[in-house]
Symmetry: C2
Subunit: 198 residues, 2 copies
Amino acid sequence: MASQEIEALANALARLPGLGPRSARRAVLHLMKRREGALQPLLAALQTVSERLSTCSICGNVDTRDPCTICADPRRDDKSLCVVEEVSDLWALDRSRLFPGRYHVLGGKLSALEGVRPEDLSIDKLLQRVGAGGIDEIVLAMNATLEGQTTAHYLAERLETYPVRLTQLAHGLPVGGELDYLDEGTLAQALRARRPVA
Amino acid sequence: MASQEIEALANALARLPGLGPRSARRAVLHLMKRREGALQPLLAALQTVSERLSTCSICGNVDTRDPCTICADPRRDDKSLCVVEEVSDLWALDRSRLFPGRYHVLGGKLSALEGVRPEDLSIDKLLQRVGAGGIDEIVLAMNATLEGQTTAHYLAERLETYPVRLTQLAHGLPVGGELDYLDEGTLAQALRARRPVA
Ligand SMILES: [Zn+2]
Ligand SMILES: [Zn+2]
């Protein structure tokens, strides 16, 4: 019914989270009917992001600049560092605008099952950042899953000797809950009630 | 939290039908984390469609080629022509794969309220196509709205003198429709168009 090029665009859009094959077709038509108002802006935005995409050499965030927007922001509190498993967790937390500090992305979680060991995560870099001084508090914002908590315990041990206060997100997060899928209210609660790691 | 470039991409995606601000952010992250597997294919597909986007000079469909894929398809039945208000109607109908013929897009519907007159729609072109001969049946596939039906009546009058069979989509109960949940307009239509039980 439509050309190969249009099918290719519909397929690419259908693979985005939140869009199925049907809504992807609607999106294609929307774009084609609004060449100046919708297609060109999306194309330009994608092009720019594609060209400048980079992983932050400080924290592991993805952004169009390195250091990322958060690491480069002088208004951020250097004394607080929030450690997360994935970039998606960083984004979910930062969306709440409740954490004023900096972030560190591990790039995963320890997992015996999937063979993920400490050296596979950005832990050495974390210890370097902490070792450089100036950090008062580290929030271990792992997911409330078995592997997330195992990772938090491991990090707590590794960070024991540093003069920093270790905290973690308050539990009250639903069991098995992943940060990326939680509403902001729950995130806000968990962040506000964070407590020292025992 | 994110760079202007990323915000721009999130905003462009959030304007697509089916994606809100939240799912747009998820989509952005999805794209950034899968540069080769998701971002590049989407970018390339958009670029191609943007470069080749055209309105079919025969039927008014939008496609990456002119004549469009449907008009250029030799397997389509030249004897049946389906007239629709908008390109989105053409796509919706053709998705069903039930109509084997060609299409004609009016580009709107007659509307006293919005000041849309016959000369604002692709009616002269429709009459030319019909006048050229070879068409046996014209399906007036207007929406079941007041303005859609006004447009269908107007077209029926204009097409009266041509040796073609004029038909329109049946109005009535949608498949699986329960009387209790249908609006009065649909019920009235279904009742008015009642026919003998076979
Ligand atoms: Zn950074
Ligand atoms: Zn065409």
